[in-house]
Every structure is written in C-alpha cells, then in structure tokens.
Symmetry: C2
Subunit: 163 residues, 2 copies
Amino acid sequence: MSAVRFKARETIEQVEEGYDLAPRFDDRGLITVVTTDATSGELLMQGYMNAEALSLTIQTGEAHYFSRSREVLWHKGATSGFVQSVRELLIDDDQDCIWLRVDVAGGASCHVGYRSCFYRKVPVGTDFEAGQREGHIDLEWTDTEKVFDPLDVYGDVPNPTKL
Amino acid sequence: MSAVRFKARETIEQVEEGYDLAPRFDDRGLITVVTTDATSGELLMQGYMNAEALSLTIQTGEAHYFSRSREVLWHKGATSGFVQSVRELLIDDDQDCIWLRVDVAGGASCHVGYRSCFYRKVPVGTDFEAGQREGHIDLEWTDTEKVFDPLDVYGDVPNPTKL
C-alpha cells in the first residue's frame, strides 16, 4: 500500500481551484478536522491530524487523528471500539481543514459517553436576552442519555480534558 | 445589552457535565468554530472566535469570527452581504469548540464563491487504492457552480488564503 504523497503549495489558484491535494499543516504540523455523522449530519467531534494520520485515514478509510493531549497518533476506536468508517473526506478552499463524513460503529464519538461531543447549547439573540441574568447564562442540555459508561470503556485512563 | 460573562474553568466535572459556559481560548485567545447549514446539515466553513466575537455572536444572533489572516473582528457578511443567522450555538464536552447551525442570507459562505468551502473530496480506502498512481491522487469536485463572482463582491481586497 503506497503512502499518500501531498503536493507542495505553490499558488493560490492551485490550492483553491486545482486538483492537487496540498494540505496546509500549521506550525505544530497539524490540520483541523471536522467529523460529522454521514447519515444524520450531526457534528460528532472536532480534532486534528498530522501528515501521518491524514495519510493513514486516506489509505485505510478509517479515521486516524493526532491526539494533542497525549501527543500520539490516534486510531479512533482502538480503545473504545467506536471506529469511524469514512464515507467521504472533503477538504476546504485553502486546504487547511478536513471534513470527515463517517459511520460510527456503536454510535458514540464522545469520551464523556454521549453520541456527539456537542450535547449542550448556548441561548443566542433574543433567547440570550430573555434568559440571562447580568450576563450570566446557563447551558441547555440537548442530549442527556449516555451511549456508554466511560469508566467501563476507558477504566483509569486519564481524562483528556485540559482546564 | 449586557456583555456575556464567561465562567472560570475550575473542574473537569464543571466543564464537561455542568451548566457553566466556561470556554477554553487557546494561547492566541481563540476558540475553534464549526459552521453548518441548519437546514441541509452541510459543513459551510471552519473559523475562529476570540472572546469578543463569541460574546457578540451570542448577543446578536449573527455569526462573528476573528480573522486570523487580517487579525480583526469579523462580522461575517459585512462585506459580502452573506450574513449568517445563528439558529443554534452548541459547545463541546471540554468547551474548546463551538458549533454554529446557521441560515445564510444569499446562500454562500465561501470566499471563492461556492456555497460551502468544502467543494472537493479526496478518494479514501478502496477508492484511493483504485485511483492513485504511486501515491499521487486527484481531488474530485463535488460542486462546480459558484453562487457569486468573488471579483464582484470583494473587488481588489487581498485573498485571505496563505500558502
């Protein structure tokens, strides 16, 4: 299986309107990744890939990320079993963001145990004005049912959330 | 109109499972934003907000970002007219990513002129194996019809894409 060869970024025309895969990795060597459920369209998570993770994702069709908290290549689902099968991989205009449309085995993508990492919303506009008390607002929960118990799946692995 | 007050980040429990809005801005003072079309679910763009942009978005219900290329607060649509009305604003488990579900006046969100910034895809898995030539692959276009001509809308404003 040949590794993926990325092209050098030479012109704006090439990057924005061409056929070359010429991703822009930032000064940490990472590109931003947005992952949605291919069926429901729901945003599942946002992560990062380095060149190796992007290449492996393209080659295998399974989502690989780079974990910033653990500083390792991360085959999503290797621990939890919730592998993400990539139905489509898209790249944005200036090629500094990847969009994965995936099917998730078992249906969960969030280390807290929910289907999606985005289970709380912030009231905006007139809802913000109606609900706030001197600028303080409460988050509203959109999902309260966990798909799994993190303790069962991850045991005593440290929580990746940084304060 | 009171400004939004963010809470200090004190515990993982508070951040992941609480009602406090306690966003994590990175060392540049920015939080990642993912913006999808509220009707179609399509990923429109990925950007960044600083605290001011997040506060203004919550207060006004219209998407504000921080432009890294121009280093300014950016009311999306102020130049192009393609204002994004926020139907829902969600935040992820560790509160370092915002998801905006928006309605876009005029239907375009991409400075190149397409509806979405994600108009090209990369073949993955067996499609990659079938199409690649020694690791080289061609992007496939998923949208070829521009909603507007960037020259008409932006004139001689410098292209924000960085090589």
